[in-house]
Symmetry: C2
Subunit: 430 residues, 2 copies
């Protein structure tokens, strides 16, 4: 009897892992260059912590369980809540804390081709700064990650929960329903205008208010659009939100991403903990997969988890969606294996010598394999080919004695006779 | 109200993560050099899969839960079972498959200072080869990992499930109880001789047999000890096991680890799926934490999970134990942060210029931070110091105009006036 991986999860074979690792390592390199340090938290947390401020939709998606002492736990649905707990528990950390984490999270969602229940997020957060410079830096860092991966064309949509609060006030909707409404309008792109309207009706919003609301949130465009929100500016909370977005625009020029920046008043983000600017990055691609990064400010979360009042903002890159686009756009032209060379022996007696050569290459950081199957030379080369190893070295008595080895280029089907030192020079990672 | 991480789990703050990452990256580099490719599997698996061949002790330690459709799942207790499932499901993969994985696993154990319920394993496996060369390569690779981390003195203990089978036959114990007995005698070092004898009595083994058994399994020593097992050699299965260990000795000379190799007949390993040679590495350290690596051959597991009959062997390094020893032995003298330089501004007006300088450094791969708190220069330098950032650059109008910046060495309290190009040369990672 065979076993499949649990529903919504996948296995990653070597060829796929080479691609995943390239994407993750590239993002990590940029995160570190931007001065973010790593903080890791457990994959599961107490149920009470997870559900403190996630909202009803996410709550329904948490994998919940009990440990053997009856403690109620859940697999984390994002990387923010655990980190916020760490900040709450460690007030000694100098502020701002600039933290990154690249790790899996779990949500029990409807499984589709693109959406799984186990997926990776790459998060950066700046904790302790109220300034919109923090937002600008997070977005700039995410943009540099995407550029480093080869993305050229994308849009950064921004909005502000404060503006949304202002809009609801403006159309005279009771504050109590704000979070519920945000979760509904955030689905606009996914489920369409009609369905959003239906859902709003369902929670008791009057038709005329819905109409007014839908009209305002359909605003989308460059910075100038903020000037057209005259009536909203009269509402204090909205005015604050508009001012914050203008500051993000100002700082975006320092970092050179202002051209990619668009206001989108229907953007709300699905999590309850956001309190200020929110943002999403959408890549232009043949196949649309939704946003590939998203985040926002959550100034109350750390206090809510028992910490001191601490402003915070962050952005999260979706690894799977990024990889999906890169695959369809052919941006991931990588070898199938990290093995650089197969050190073949001409016969059983030369095995020890082949291992000796391999060990020398390994010391130089050149990934290599030797035969472990007792295969003849022909079969060894066939195996190397089937694995996609780009080079082979052949080790025989004469070769060892003269320090001249055949280096076979498996793709171009050429070969050269070289000393081990010369071979190392060619194969050593730069 | 504050929340602690769930019992048996920990948070890793930046300073700790710098150390963890150094250990993990070093191990990964050696794994890759040895020609292992990465395979990743989900953190949870179907309950039936996990418990197929783990043994009763481990079964009791699995974190179990159901998904919302009532499927019984469990968090993985090791990285081998998921990988074996992948091999069973993907017969197209060319053999041998050389796979690595460095990831967390979970076991519900008694929590002590050194033992947690969430911990990392670093595994390599060679799948498809019957040859003891595979064992030798796995051990050699683990040894090179330890050497790269600075370990100089350690012992590699080997035994063979086949020899253990032979011993039980020799003392006339019914085969049915073999796995149960292995799990008990494996605890010898942990719980002591008396307790092992008690547990063996409890499962119905006669005292005289226990005495005989304990005498044989107390054998410990170099290869020569294998010659003293005259009586065991008459039992076919034991003879096979002895022959395999001799071959591992032979191949260990190719790789240069024969001096570290010792036979230990009480070594059994706690998992039911082992079928042949088993091994453990123990580091010599002031504070004994048990083995830091262990593994063995599991020739039946893949077939048991629905695959073709496929021989396999592997070794797993325990990240937490390795780090614990390295800390007490002061082998982890690393900076507290990866941030290399703090780019300070002399006043608010110079913020944009400071960001400009930082962006240039980041492009060169130099991790840096700028002020995000609106602090004055003194406070900025104090912050950099509190974080452990080794260098600061000061950006003022004059500095920008003349392209001469003060580079402050925060530890040695020295400073130099340098062009940005010179600074990059000094700080750029080699």
């Amino acid at each position: 009897m065979k076993f499949q991986p649990p529903k919504g999860t996948r296995d990653f074979l070597p060829e796929e892992m080479v691609r995943r690792e390239y994407v993750i390592e590239t993002i990590k390199r940029i995160f570190v260059a931007y001065g973010f340090d790593e903080i890791q938290t457990p994959v599961f947390e107490k149920w009470e912590l997870l559900t403190k401020k996630c909202g009803e939709d996410i709550k329904q998606q948490i994998f919940e369980f009990e440990d053997k002492a009856g403690r109620k736990l859940g697999l984390r649905f994002d990387l923010t809540v655990g980190m916020a707990r760490v900040i709450a528990n460690n007030p000694q950390l100098p502020k701002p804390v600039k933290r990154y984490c690249i790790a899996p999270v779990w949500r029990y969602e409807e499984v589709t081709a693109g959406r799984k229940r186990e997926f990776y997020q790459a998060d950066i957060d700046i904790v302790g700064s109220k300034s919109m410079e923090a937002e600008a830096e997070c977005i700039a860092c995410a943009v540099d990650c995407l550029k480093a991966l080869g993305f050229e064309d994308f849009k950064i949509y921004i909005n502000n929960r404060k503006i949304l609060d202002g809009i609801l006030k403006f159309v005279s909707i009771s504050e109590k329903k704000n979070l519920e409404i945000f979760r509904i309008i955030d689905k606009l792109e996914k489920i369409g205008k009609e369905n959003v309207e239906k859902e709003l009706e369902k929670i008791g919003i009057k038709k005329e208010k819905i109409k007014k609301l839908m009209k305002i949130i359909s605003f989308k465009g460059k910075q100038e659009i903020l000037e057209r929100l005259e009536e909203l500016k009269k509402i204090k909370i909205a005015e604050e939100g508009i001012k914050e977005l203008k500051e993000i625009y100002k700082f975006s020029k320092f970092y050179g991403f202002s051209n990619f920046l668009f206001v989108n008043l229907s953007l709300a983000r699905g999590l309850d903990y956001y309190t200020g600017p929110i943002f999403e990055i959408v890549a232009k691609a043949k196949k649309q997969v939704g946003s590939i990064a998203g985040g926002g400010r959550y100034d109350n979360l750390i206090e809510l988890l028992g910490g001191r009042p601490t402003p915070a903002t962050g952005i999260s890159l979706g690894i799977e969606r990024i990889i999906e686009i890169m695959k369809t756009e052919r941006m991931l032209d990588l070898p199938r294996t990290k093995v650089k060379v197969f050190v073949a022996n001409v016969n059983e007696k030369m095995k020890e010598k082949a291992v000796e050569v391999a060990q020398k290459l390994r010391k130089e950081g050149i990934p290599c394999q030797t035969d472990l199957m007792g295969r003849n030379l022909k079969k060894q080369l066939e195996f190397a080919n089937s694995l996609g190893v780009p080079f082979c070295i052949i080790v025989g008595e004469k070769e060892v004695k003269e320090n001249k080895f055949k280096l076979k280029n498996m793709k171009e089907k050429t070969e050269e006779s070289l000393s081990l030192e010369e071979i190392i020079k060619i194969l050593k990672p730069k």
